[in-house]
Symmetry: C2
């Protein structure tokens, strides 16, 4: 049993646009349509998809489905205060009681079928699978006005889908919220489980800023 | 007195292309031409520019200047084994004895005039100025098969131009090479000086991979 939770709990204000970023039309479809097509293409029609959406966007969502056709989600549930709460809402709505669940950012439309399949397959074996890529820039840690170089070779940027054993992830998400829960791996880890890393994909960009939107258009035009 | 060292010490093998990445033509000019134009536009003709180039590319450089016109560098010197040695060669060739020197990656053609001017101005006041931006992805530190989440809010990605007091940077570069010297700030810091951080620019991408090249074309087409 494979389940997917697509998280779009925010209202997209960072982009400075009148429309939420996951709803922006790029090359003929809203970003989120591209995202969902990738998962259907990688895992097939049996995949159960829950979309977590900020309540203020429910109406916009219905309009978009009217205009662009069904996006291919099985249900839409309301987002919560933080990403943590949104994922918890999603986990409560997933009908399965076992198997692997993937949690994916709505605004990562370029995830490859290969990365999706690898994450779901490895999570079935190891309990978790989180895609990561090396960092290209040097990294510094700041502390007030001071800062220090951090060895870049030991660092990885975390992407999605982050995939887990559904039952164990539900148990992990029963925890109280903490500000350092920035992704699902950190919640999983806080519950005492180890995180299994797999290679991500440099194209698997999170589209959150105006410059990312330029990149997104270029990637889609060139067939990525 | 303002000096610039543009570092292109590598042969560009990571791109998997027959031409070094800094020589790739994008929107009518090799990447490095775009880079140098930005600095001339920001700081004017008085800026002294030293290009550090891998010796295997000297011939190709001459051909490119024949084809695309002068790139606007005052001298070309040979790169060294590591980036550290390339910068050291550049510092030895800079004619000035004082003022600010900026060290810039040849493959960052999108640096804004604003960031360039800020870095040179702040370095004149503080001794150093290094542009940084926040990270968008969650970050993990790996240690063998284990890994742990690192608070992203405290991390910054380091860009270029990294600007310094020329005399003090020359002293810092008299040190023996160490593998953790991944950028100029780390060399500066090892000499006991503090690094002054300034806001970078999300468009100031380092073009090192095939997907970056798609991004580079899109940015240039859209006027960035």
């Amino acid at each position: 049993m494979q389940s997917l939770i697509v998280v779009a709990g925010g209202t997209g204000t960072r982009m400075g646009l009148p429309v939420a970023k996951q709803f922006i039309e790029v090359e003929g479809s809203p970003l989120m349509w591209w995202t969902l097509r990738r998962f259907r293409a990688a895992l097939g029609e049996a995949l159960d998809v829950t979309l977590v959406l900020h309540v203020s966007l429910f109406e916009g969502w219905a309009e978009l489905e009217g205009r662009y056709g069904a996006a291919g989600v099985d249900r839409v549930v309301a987002g919560g205060e933080e990403r943590f709460h949104s994922v918890r809402h999603g986990l409560a709505a997933v009908p399965a009681s076992g198997g692997v669940v993937g949690i994916h950012d709505a605004v990562r439309p370029f995830v490859s079928a290969d990365v999706v399949r690898t994450c779901f397959r490895e999570a079935a074996v190891h309990g978790s699978a989180v895609p990561v890529i090396p960092l290209k820039d040097s990294i510094r840690e700041v502390d007030g006005a001071a800062s220090r170089a951090i060895p870049r070779d030991a660092l990885r940027a975390v992407q999605t889908p982050q995939c887990f054993d559904l039952g164990r992830l539900r148990t992990a998400y029963a925890a109280d919220y903490r500000p350092d829960f920035t992704d699902d791996a950190s919640v999983w880890e806080a519950a005492g489980s180890s995180v299994h890393l797999v290679p991500g994909d440099p194209f698997n960009l999170k589209v959150t800023t105006p410059e990312d939107l330029i990149v997104a258009r270029a990637f889609l035009r060139e067939g990525h």
